[in-house]
């Protein structure tokens, strides 16, 4: 196809897409003013029956938790696949002989990276454990915790990096997170007669230990996400920056 024909096709397709989008957007409710049945009933149901203050997290880990179980397993398999693929390519290079051309890490980056590791870890832990009260939850907190690993790398501590992510342990932790989620799911089946039913005491609305299985599943997801991202990034870092060490 000639360049001219491709441009014509692109312009026509974009115009059609813009038209369809404009029609679709015209029918949406106003920003911050939802009138759908779910927008009105879900927060009330979650606050009254599950004592969960954050409706988004309540939907993710209670009303729609089966979906989250699937997502969690997708991430688990994806991390596993990435690790297997990257590990198979490990023997391709002989030693890290191309290290010399990388510029040294600047002092400012080292200091900022090292100083931020602690606060980022605390923030990640807070976001994981308070998902049922304030915005956040297992996935959000998990990615923040995994970002702390990148700060260790940014600070140039390759030796320290070896210590904070022993690959075998990370793999075991990832499996533990996924298994914990599956066990809580089965717990609902055993104690309440339905998969992922909220079978724990729901406590008082707004307290840290409340909302039944929601914070438990959130922590399980946090562990799984942290380990999965750490695994993928560690394997990539091994491949590219440390040189193909065996």
């Amino acid at each position: 196809m000639s360049r001219r024909a491709r441009t014509l096709l692109a312009v026509a397709a974009l115009a059609g897409l813009a038209l369809v989008l404009a029609v679709a957007l015209h029918g949406l409710p106003g920003v911050g003013d939802p009138h759908g049945p779910n927008a009105r009933s879900v927060p009330v149901v979650l606050a009254k029956e599950r004592h969960a203050a954050n409706a988004v997290n309540g939907v993710t880990y209670d009303l729609r938790a089966t979906d989250t179980l699937g997502e969690e397993l997708i991430l688990f398999v994806a991390a596993l696949g990435a690790a297997v693929l990257l590990r198979a390519g490990r023997g391709e290079q002989g030693g890290g002989d191309t290290e010399d051309d990388t510029p040294p890490t600047s002092g400012a980056l080292r200091v900022v990276g090292a100083v931020l590791v602690g606060p980022v870890l605390v923030l990640g832990g807070y976001v994981v454990t308070h998902g049922h009260l304030t915005p956040g939850g297992g996935f959000q907190g998990g990615v923040i915790l995994a970002a702390a690993l990148l700060l260790v790398y940014a600070a140039g501590q390759l030796v320290a990096l070896e210590r904070v992510r022993p690959i075998d342990l990370v793999e075991a932790v990832e499996a533990t997170g996924a298994l914990a989620f599956a066990l809580v799911a089965l717990g609902g089946l055993i104690f309440s007669g339905a998969l992922l039913a909220n079978f724990l005491a729901t406590g008082t609305l707004g307290e840290l230990l409340s909302a039944g299985t929601i914070p438990v599943l959130s922590v399980a997801t946090g562990i799984e996400v942290t380990a999965a991202l750490t695994l993928i990034l560690s394997e990539l870092l091994d491949q590219t920056l440390v040189g193909g060490r065996g």
């Binding site: 920003v31 911050g32 997290n57 956040g136 959000q140």
Partner: protein, 84 residues
């Protein structure tokens, strides 16, 4: 809709366009990271803080880093021709 929301929408539009127009993959990864950060601000302003939290880390840190690492790996493979 407030002025701040309009500014955030404009920033996302500009960021997305710049990401497409930049041709060098390394710069594209950086542009995509800034675009992701603009999206995170947009989510926050439109009352979706849960999505914004994951967007900040995933789109502005994790994805650009994975792209950069993959590019570094591909370039290293190119520099070392197979002698078998």
């Amino acid at each position: 809709m407030t002025v701040v929301q309009l500014v955030a929408l404009a920033a996302v539009a500009v960021g997305g366009t710049v990401t497409v127009l930049v041709r060098d993959p390394v710069r594209q990864a950086m542009a995509a990271g800034i675009f992701g950060l603009a999206l995170a601000v947009l989510f926050f302003l439109f009352e979706a803080p849960d999505v914004a939290l994951s967007q900040i880390v995933v789109a502005s840190v994790a994805v650009p880093l994975m792209v950069l690492l993959t590019l570094a790996k591909l370039r290293r493979d190119d520099e070392e021709p197979d002698d078998e």
